[in-house]
């Protein structure tokens, strides 16, 4: 009798241990498989959500690159020899997700002829502080931002004290066939370094 009861206890102990082990494995497996199926749709969504972080410089999209886009902005004659900057629209194809809008204004620049030479200076009209458009004040000969009163000299240098972290963003220019071409690009604002938006 005694031994038989012992063996029954042993069996039930073994069975209990087996159930516990199976239970443990089931838990691990359920957690792993359950998380896996939950993760896949989330991952697919996040992948697409993160699409804007991808650089579209190659080929399609808006063709942004580190150098910007070379755009014919104005005839050279439109710039006075006095070195006073004038504001021009930069007209080129504008890209917005799936759309291409041919020949729309993609930005505003100030162009000035450096007195006594044929060189042309170009500044992006966006204030490097927080992105408002700066206005040139002819009476004082400076650029001024209407938002937080950043001010810049006629050659783009900051006038201290100023909230702007850097000088006005100068753009590379080329003069061909009596016209001014600008390598137009936008930069991130608020940083000391000029970092192009690509």
């Amino acid at each position: 009798m005694q031994s038989s009861r012992e063996s029954t206890d042993l069996e039930s102990d073994l069975e209990a241990a087996g159930t516990r082990r199976r239970g443990f494995l089931s838990r691990i497996a359920a957690a792993v498989v359950g998380s896996l199926v939950a993760l896949v749709p989330m991952a697919a969504g996040l992948l697409t959500f993160l699409d804007p972080l991808r650089s579209r410089a190659k080929g399609g999209g808006d063709g942004r690159s580190n150098r910007g886009r070379l755009v014919r902005v104005a005839p050279l004659d439109a710039l006075g020899a006095d070195g006073v900057p004038r504001q021009f629209q930069v007209v080129a194809d504008r890209f917005d997700a799936w759309n291409r809008f041919p020949d729309e204004s993609i930005g505003v620049v100030y162009l000035r002829r450096v007195p006594g030479s044929n060189d042309v200076q170009a500044f992006n009209a966006t204030c490097p502080h927080l992105g408002c458009f700066v206005a040139f004040k002819p009476d004082r000969g400076i650029y001024q931002c209407p938002c937080h009163e950043s001010a810049f000299k006629i050659d783009g240098a900051m006038i201290h004290p100023t909230p702007s972290p850097r000088d006005l963003d100068e753009l590379r220019t080329e003069v061909k066939d009596n016209a001014v071409w600008v390598w137009y690009q936008d930069f991130y604002t608020g940083k000391e370094q000029k970092k192009p938006k690509t």
């Binding site: 838990r27 359920a30 969504g45």
Partner: protein
């Protein structure tokens, strides 16, 4: 960790909630047959997650819906995967619904006290079908557009309030921006909200009554976590694997953008609604009443029978009746779906056309209907590919939407214009429609060397591809036919070939540009031959000959020549008084509105005849 949990538990009672959620009692042990409900919840969660992410990139309006979906599918990182998951999980959900319903009915899980939950389930099923229907329209492609129009037109048949109901759903009398905004609000707001709310109720009531175990003493009892959850997760994994496989293999397709002005003969509902489509065909010829019965009354009665199941099933015989009814319904749906698929694809599956020559025999008619459908589907696929080529070529989509690209594309519009205005007389290999016996020349490759060589071939000139069926044929004493037949055999073939090349060069066809450039010397000699061979006895060519008797050969088949010819063939520069039945399509250049063809359509038609359209660079393999 434990301290934090204790703190939280004191304030929220989270342990009890979790315990209740995870340690639900399952009499008779975990079973595979219980997984369907969980896979449905999983599918819904996948739709919710992928749907919200799609929402971030989708733009519901007539000019942006297709375009934004195109962008998700083709330009955005992983967009094809996201859209594919959403697209195919929706279809998986319908299948899972059928399994869940079957399991519940066969197990008799609808019986008291679970009647309310069964009714909730049926309502949930209809919300899921509503989500499918509204979602099918959102890409605003030809397929979704035309198929959904059928569904909303059916809605108009509802007695008394039908048209008002239809207007409310469509957002006006016709499909437009507001159809999309409304369908989108239904698809992403109203229906998922309802679904979520009712699903919570469904689950709460399910928990209240516990699982319905048909065989509670099968094995020792267990709890939901981890045994049943493991089985559920594995089932979900299987569903996900199948869906992912289909996404990778097939991908969610996107047809050409919806075009209300261009019929789409391949419009079909999504496959799980095909049975309804086929069912409606049984009521053909019944007029409005027939459609009402087939499209609304019978489906309504079937739903009613489903709703009555818990009460019918109180008796043993009633339960058997329910099971029988459901199986019959599913079998009927299967048969109707198969019939619909076969009706559309019989031309392909049967291989060869029916042997009978009787054009009015039902077999021939069915075969023709099927090949018409297959042709339309093929055209739709080509158009969907074409629009993507055009977008790449244009480096983006114009503000007016992708449809404007197709509308300005000679390759797309040419065959349509040709079919509408020219194909009743002329042939063209690329025209989709052929109407009986041609009565005018075949315009395939018009102006090319091959075409002109055929024209001056005595064997062909009086045949059906040239003047054979016109008033200029030999029977009617056509001078050109006579000239070719009598004079040509006497001429030196090399001289004729030069003249052919020279005349063909007048067309300045893009396809012959390189050849014309290479053969410049030969073409120069050919110009002299045109004068020497006697063409200028009737035709004007450059400074020689006169107008009035036969078409001007100067600039023959060039863009400008064709524009003039189609505008007014009876002009003295073309056929003058000898014009054979060809109408003037734009006789009044000063008043374009009074003409049959607008200047734009004329341009498109001419460009297409001349083979001038954007061709993508050959894909590198």
């Amino acid at each position: 960790m434990k301290a934090v949990l204790n703190w939280l538990d004191h304030r929220t009672g989270i342990r009890a909630v979790l315990h209740a959620a995870l340690y639900e009692h399952i009499p008779g042990g975990a079973r595979w047959r219980y997984v369907w409900g969980s896979t449905l919840v999983f599918a819904f969660v996948v739709q919710l997650v992928t749907g919200v992410f799609l929402w971030m990139a989708y733009s519901p309006s007539g000019h942006t819906a297709w375009e934004s979906v195109y962008y998700i599918q083709n330009e955005m990182q992983g967009g094809w995967l996201l859209r594919g998951l959403h697209h195919f999980m929706a279809q998986a959900m319908v299948i899972l619904l059928a399994f869940h319903l079957m399991q519940v009915v066969i197990d008799g899980a609808y019986r008291a006290p679970r009647e309310v939950n069964f009714l909730l389930g049926l309502i949930l099923m209809q919300i899921v079908l509503g989500l499918s229907l509204t979602g099918y329209l959102l890409p605003w492609d030809q397929k979704g557009y035309w198929a959904t129009r059928v569904a909303t037109n059916l809605m108009g048949l509802v007695p008394i309030l039908g048209t008002q109901l239809q207007k409310l759903v469509v957002g006006g009398a016709d499909y437009g921006h507001h159809t999309l905004t409304r369908f989108f609000a239904l698809h992403a707001g109203v229906l998922p909200g309802l679904l979520l709310g009712l699903l919570v109720l469904h689950l709460a009531i399910f928990r209240r009554h516990g699982i319905h175990a048909p065989d509670p003493h099968r094995r020792p009892d267990t709890t939901f976590w981890p045994d049943q959850i493991l089985k559920d997760s594995v089932a979900c994994l299987a569903v996900l694997a199948v869906v992912l496989f289909v996404v990778v293999r097939l991908g969610a397709d996107l047809g050409a953008p919806a075009d209300p002005s261009h019929e789409y003969s391949a419009a079909r509902p999504e496959w799980y609604f095909l049975f309804l489509f086929q069912f409606l065909k049984l009521f053909e010829g019944g007029g409005e009443t027939g459609e009402l019965i087939g499209g609304i009354v019978v489906p309504f009665l079937v739903l009613l029978a489903l709703f009555a199941m818990p009460w019918v099933g109180r008796w043993k015989l009633g339960h058997r009746f329910n099971v029988g009814l459901l199986l019959c319904l599913l079998a009927g749906i299967g048969v109707l779906t198969a019939q619909a698929l076969y009706a559309d694809n019989r031309a392909q599956w049967a291989g060869k056309p029916p042997s009978t020559a009787d054009k009015d025999s039902p077999e021939v008619k069915r075969y023709e209907a099927s090949s018409g459908y297959l042709r339309a589907r093929h055209h739709a696929e080509m158009e969907a590919e074409r629009v993507i080529e055009l977008i790449k070529h244009n480096k983006g989509i114009p503000a007016g939407g992708a449809l404007t690209l197709l509308r300005d594309d000679p390759k797309t519009q040419g065959p349509r214009l040709f079919a509408r205005w020219c194909a009743s007389c002329h042939l063209h290999d690329d025209s989709p429609e052929i109407f009986g016996q041609p009565s005018a020349p075949d315009l395939t490759g018009f102006g090319s060397r091959k075409w002109i060589a055929g024209l001056v071939d005595p064997k062909q000139v009086d045949g059906p591809h040239y003047f054979g069926n016109t008033s200029h044929n030999g029977e009617n004493g056509g001078q050109m036919v006579e000239f070719i037949k009598t004079t040509m055999p006497e001429l030196e073939p090399a001289d004729v070939a030069k003249a052919v090349a020279a005349l063909s060069a007048q067309a300045q066809l893009g396809s012959q540009h390189d050849m014309d450039k290479k053969d410049a010397a030969m073409i120069q000699e050919g110009i002299e031959q045109i004068e020497l061979l006697g063409c200028i006895d009737c035709h004007k060519f450059r400074d020689l000959g006169d107008l009035g008797t036969a078409p001007d050969l100067t600039g023959y088949a060039s863009r400008e020549w064709l524009l003039g010819m189609i505008s007014n063939p009876a002009h003295e520069r073309f056929y003058g008084e000898n014009n054979d039945r060809m109408p003037a399509f734009a006789a009044n250049p000063d008043d374009p509105k009074s003409n049959t063809l607008s200047p734009k359509n004329l341009d498109l038609l001419v460009a297409w005849l001349r083979g001038e359209w954007h061709r993508p660079p050959r894909a590198k393999r």
